[in-house]
């Protein structure tokens, strides 16, 4: 009886030791991956920060209005620091996932595979949003200045419309890229955009016929008047 008892305990212990022996290399691999990953992340962050400072990324960001947006959102880091930190955390995240994957726990395998297949979409969406936002700021400012120089009273409204149109367009593209409710997004954008155009067409073509007539008449008369009293300065 005692022999059976002893054999069972030894077998169980051996089985445990076997499992530990299988797991330990994986654990060591995970620790190694984490150490190398963290060091790589830190090195890349440092190199990237130096590179961005060398190409005056902060100055370019200021020119594009990104610094202003970040400071308005309470961000204490400079754009160069923010980008380098972003890449640091992306590498750390990838390192953690690789580390967990090294443990070869079945439950995490599928999740990690899915995460990596989705990652490019996530990156593309972030890039679309950032570029879209920068273009929106740039074109909004260009529209504002052009409208002021053309002496349009509603210059700010025009500028905001341009800015929001591009932001919404880039948001739609980003969501579409992420595969989130693709059909709903496209339909919502088409309906909104079509609706705006239709509303303008109706306003000028039917509902605001008289208003449009008045507006165009005033514009024409003003133009005729301006032709008469324009400045004749030779600027150069």
């Amino acid at each position: 009886m005692s022999e059976i008892w002893r054999t069972a305990i030894v077998a169980s212990f051996n089985k445990f030791l076997g499992k530990v022996a299988t797991f330990l290399p994986n654990l060591l691999a995970m620790i190694t991956i984490l150490i190398i990953g963290f060091i790589t992340a830190w090195v890349i962050k440092t190199i990237l920060l130096r590179f961005l400072k060398a190409i005056q990324f902060d100055r370019v960001s200021e020119r594009w209005g990104l610094t202003h947006v970040l400071s308005r959102g309470g961000m204490a880091y400079s754009p160069a620091s923010l980008v380098s930190r972003f890449f640091y955390w992306v590498i750390v995240l990838i390192t953690l996932i690789l580390g967990i994957n090294a443990l070869e726990v079945a439950a995490t395998q599928n999740f990690i595979a899915q995460f990596f297949s989705y990652l490019p979409n996530l990156f593309a969406a972030v890039i679309i949003l950032v570029i879209g936002y920068l273009i929106a700021i740039f074109l909004g400012q260009a529209a504002l200045i052009a409208a002021v120089n053309a002496q349009m009273e509603s210059a700010k409204l025009l500028s905001r419309s341009v800015r929001w149109f591009i932001i919404i367009l880039s948001l739609t593209m980003a969501l579409y890229h992420l595969g989130i409710a693709e059909k709903v997004i496209v339909a919502a954008f088409s309906i909104t955009f079509g609706g705006i155009v239709l509303a303008l067409a109706i306003a000028f073509g039917w509902g605001g016929r008289e208003l449009a007539k008045d507006f165009l008449e005033r514009l024409y008369l003003k133009k005729k008047k301006e032709d008469g009293d324009h400045n004749h300065l030779s600027h150069l």
């Binding site: 100055r59 400012q141 260009a142 120089n149 009293d229 004749h232 030779s234 600027h235």
Partner: protein, 420 residues
């Protein structure tokens, strides 16, 4: 360069004098300009070999044909003797981005190929050019050893507003030479200077457009060439839509001035005061046509700028200047005044912002236009009753403010560099 043009130049081989006329759809006036040039060369340089180059931007109104057609049939009606060498005319299209500067580049290249000793360029839309302009633009180079002749005109007191409010005072304060019309459009220069201009790679920038005049003047001064000016009398252009090209004209000229400031910063930081340059020609008064000015429109543009562009200006101007601008926007049209020192401070602040590059440069320069119109409106309102002489004194006082406030510019320029 067109192959046919090159063949013509090879046949000519070399010349003493070269006259360049840039043009684009100037059929109404170019005939008069060509006649004045031919008569001037025949009268004042009868023994010199001279070439007239029309560098055209693709005119569709018959400008090129007009240049080929025009000639002086009977020299006896204007001269006592015939010129020794007949004056050759060459019409050629220029290449590169459309603009006056690209046209000038072709003229410089021709000067270099033909090894011309003295050159002059004149605008093709001039109504007031006379044969005497040739003597006044060429003789200082051809006989007196000067390298660059800038024009000096009698102009209406409200004409040349970019020149009077920005380019002349700023160039004078920066480089220390009192060249009164640095962007006049009609210049004389030596073959040596033309060759130097060709060594610079600027033909894809605003220099290839309206920036060419200030670029030529600034380089001549800054590089130590012998500079003078000649009094040419009245400058009257062909009529054109005055509001149509203010935007590009303003941004291209100011962009060139600011770009040159960045390039020549070690030089201008050391210049403390300005000196007059030698002046040729006989000064006389001329009657000038009145210039209609719509003050209300210009002040309206300034107020709209203060209302909508302040967000951009705040990144450029110091807070004290911003408050000052806001306070003058509240003034009535009758009491509207844009003080000189505020204007100078603003021009210097914008130059620093241009240098720093913290705002997209085209946006920065375009956003200056309402401020410029405000300053012009104030200047016109204050000088409605002033004589031309009194207005000239006002411009002189503005130049002194520019010179006195130069330490402010140097301080801000250095601070921006240090502060990043």
């Amino acid at each position: 360069m067109e192959p046919s043009f090159q063949i013509q130049l090879e046949k000519i081989q070399e010349t003493d004098i070269l006259i360049g006329i840039p043009s684009y759809n100037n059929v109404r006036t170019i005939g008069h300009v060509v006649r004045a040039v031919i008569a001037g060369l025949a009268k004042y340089f009868p023994k010199a070999k001279a070439i007239l180059i029309n560098s055209d931007g693709g005119s569709t109104d018959g400008t090129q044909e007009e240049v080929r057609r025009v000639q002086i049939e009977d020299y006896k009606t204007i001269l006592t003797s015939h010129p020794v060498h007949p004056i050759q005319k060459i019409v050629t299209p220029y290449h590169g981005i459309p603009g006056k500067g690209s046209s000038f580049r072709t003229i410089f290249e021709t000067t270099q190929i033909l090894n011309a000793k003295a050159c002059a360029v004149v605008d093709s839309d001039l109504r007031s050019i006379t044969p005497e302009w040739m003597e006044l633009l060429l003789r200082p180079v051809y006989e007196e050893g000067f390298d660059y002749v800038s024009p000096l005109y009698a102009r209406h007191k409200f004409d040349g507003t970019i020149t009077n409010s920005i380019v002349y005072p700023l160039t004078r304060a920066l480089y220390g030479k009192r060249v009164r019309q640095p962007i006049g459009g009609d210049f004389g220069f030596s073959g040596k200077l033309a060759k130097f201009y060709l060594t610079k790679d600027v033909w894809e920038t605003d220099v290839a457009r309206f920036g060419i005049d200030i670029w030529m003047t600034t380089l001549a001064i800054a590089e130590g060439y012998k500079v003078c000016q000649s009094y040419l009398g009245a400058k009257i252009h062909d009529a054109k839509d005055p509001g149509s090209d203010l935007g590009p004209m303003f941004t291209q000229v100011v962009s060139s001035v600011y770009g040159l400031m960045v390039h020549y910063q070690p030089l201008w930081k050391g210049v403390e005061e300005s000196q007059p340059v030698p002046t040729f020609g006989f000064h006389y008064e001329v009657g000038l046509e009145p210039v209609p000015v719509n003050l209300e429109r210009m002040i309206g543009s300034f107020r709209l700028g203060v209302k909508d562009l302040m967000e951009i200006w705040r990144k450029v101007l110091v807070s004290e200047t911003v408050l000052w601008l806001e306070s003058i926007a509240k003034l009535s049209n009758e009491g509207f005044s844009f003080p000189q020192d505020l204007w100078v401070r603003m021009i210097y602040d914008f130059s620093v912002a241009y240098h720093r590059g913290s705002i997209h440069r085209e946006h920065l320069l375009k956003s200056m236009i309402p401020l410029y119109l405000g300053r012009v409106a104030s200047f016109v309102r204050e000088n409605q009753e002033s004589s031309a002489q009194e207005v000239e004194e006002k411009i002189e006082s503005l130049c002194k403010v520019f010179e006195e406030m130069k330490p402010y510019l140097i301080e801000r320029w250095a601070k921006e560099k240090g502060g990043g």
